[in-house]
């Protein structure tokens, strides 16, 4: 099974935040979502994820684009 991927490289705050929140809401068990985003969105996306109890369990990079593996809270 391929892991669900959310691409928010074309979005700006606050849509980055909204899309990640909705993406996590819909993600099937085991609750892992990979988010593809630009450097500018890192700070707000990660800090809001942390504030809601989710965890960033892996970070990788491909040519200036970041891939965050997000593990849903609970």
């Amino acid at each position: 099974m391929t892991m669900p991927l959310l691409d928010i490289t074309g979005d700006v705050c606050p849509m980055t935040f909204v899309k990640v929140k909705m993406g996590l809401h819909r993600v099937p068990p085991p609750g892992i979502l990979t988010v593809r985003l630009k450097e500018e969105a890192l700070k707000n996306v990660i800090s809001s994820l942390k504030a809601e109890g989710h965890r960033v369990t892996n970070v990788s990079r491909e040519e200036g684009i970041f891939l965050l593996e997000v593990t849903k809270a609970g």
């Binding site: 890192l42 942390k50 965890r55 990788s60």
Partner: protein, 291 residues
């Protein structure tokens, strides 16, 4: 009225207006904060002794304009019960400005109104070679424009890295607005350059593993800023201070340097142009034992 009499009035916050016989009365406000009862007393005084107008100054102060000279004493008396004092002007320590600080603002790092109160209590209206302004920003977003003041303070977060959990994911380096974080040559540690770090704490809020932590949540001191005809920005002195007491000691020491080295009618920034910043740093370090 003689010029000498006017100078005394001005020091006491009564400013002569363009129109002869009228004064704009400056009030004592700390960090832009007034109780509603005080605002009511100010409104009543402006109605009774002025023309029902209140002027909000650029540095969070309040003035009642259009007060006839003969009414100055009565106005002062009418405000006293509400705890509103008359302000200062001339070569004195001026209104201490502050943002709402960490008790109100989600970005706040320090309790800026608290420090403003301490500075005001100790230094407000004290004589100095030239006007001396203190401004306190609760964080490095710097709403109070620390560098525009003779002494400015900013709430500051100094990061430290806890090695075990760090995966070198690169997020802290990517989010750092000044690119202050570098990977060591052997690639096995991260180095934060303290001369580049602006104390925002973005590396800490963004760190996925919690490896970037707060080392100090404190106070950063800036000295020698001014606006007016020839603006110049204050520069930071000392390392990050840990407590409000340390911050206050530093401010007092900076003022001590100005008193020793400033010429009459010379702004602090101009004094520093003559003496150089290193002389100030040496003096403050010796006086306070801070580094």
């Amino acid at each position: 009225m003689s010029e000498a009499d006017y100078k005394e009035l001005k020091k006491g916050g009564m400013m002569r207006q363009a129109e002869a016989g009228l004064f704009s009365v400056r009030l004592h406000v700390v960090g832009g904060r007034l109780a509603t009862a005080q605002l009511r007393a100010i409104r009543e005084a402006a109605d009774r002794f002025g023309r029902g107008e209140i002027h909000l100054t650029t540095r969070q102060g309040v003035e009642i304009p259009h007060v006839p000279q003969g009414a100055l004493a009565a106005l002062k008396e009418s405000l006293a019960p509400s705890g509103v004092g008359v302000g200062v002007c001339g070569p004195t320590v001026r209104t201490v400005t502050a943002c709402q600080g960490c008790r109100v603002c989600p970005s706040g790092v320090i309790d800026s109104p608290e420090l403003a109160g301490i500075v005001d209590k100790e230094l407000y209206g004290k004589p100095v070679p030239h006007k001396f302004k203190v401004g306190i920003s609760g964080c490095v977003n710097n709403c109070m424009k620390a560098e525009e003041n003779d002494v400015g303070i900013k709430g500051w977060i100094e990061p430290r890295r806890e090695a075990p959990a760090c995966t070198f994911c690169g997020v802290c380096q990517a989010v750092c607005p000044t690119k202050a974080i570098a990977t060591s040559v052997d690639g096995r540690t991260l180095i934060v350059d303290p001369t580049l770090c602006i104390g925002c704490g973005d590396c800490i809020t963004s760190c996925p593993t919690g490896s970037m932590r707060e080392k100090i949540r404190g106070y950063r001191v800036f000295a020698g800023g001014k606006f007016g005809r020839r603006p110049s920005l204050g520069r930071r002195i000392l390392w990050v201070l840990r407590t409000k007491e340390e911050a206050m000691t530093a401010i007092v020491a900076v003022l001590g340097f100005f008193r020793e080295h400033g010429n009459p009618r010379e702004r602090f920034g101009d004094t520093l142009q003559r003496t150089g910043f290193p002389a100030l740093e040496t003096f403050v370090k010796e006086r306070t034992g801070l580094s």
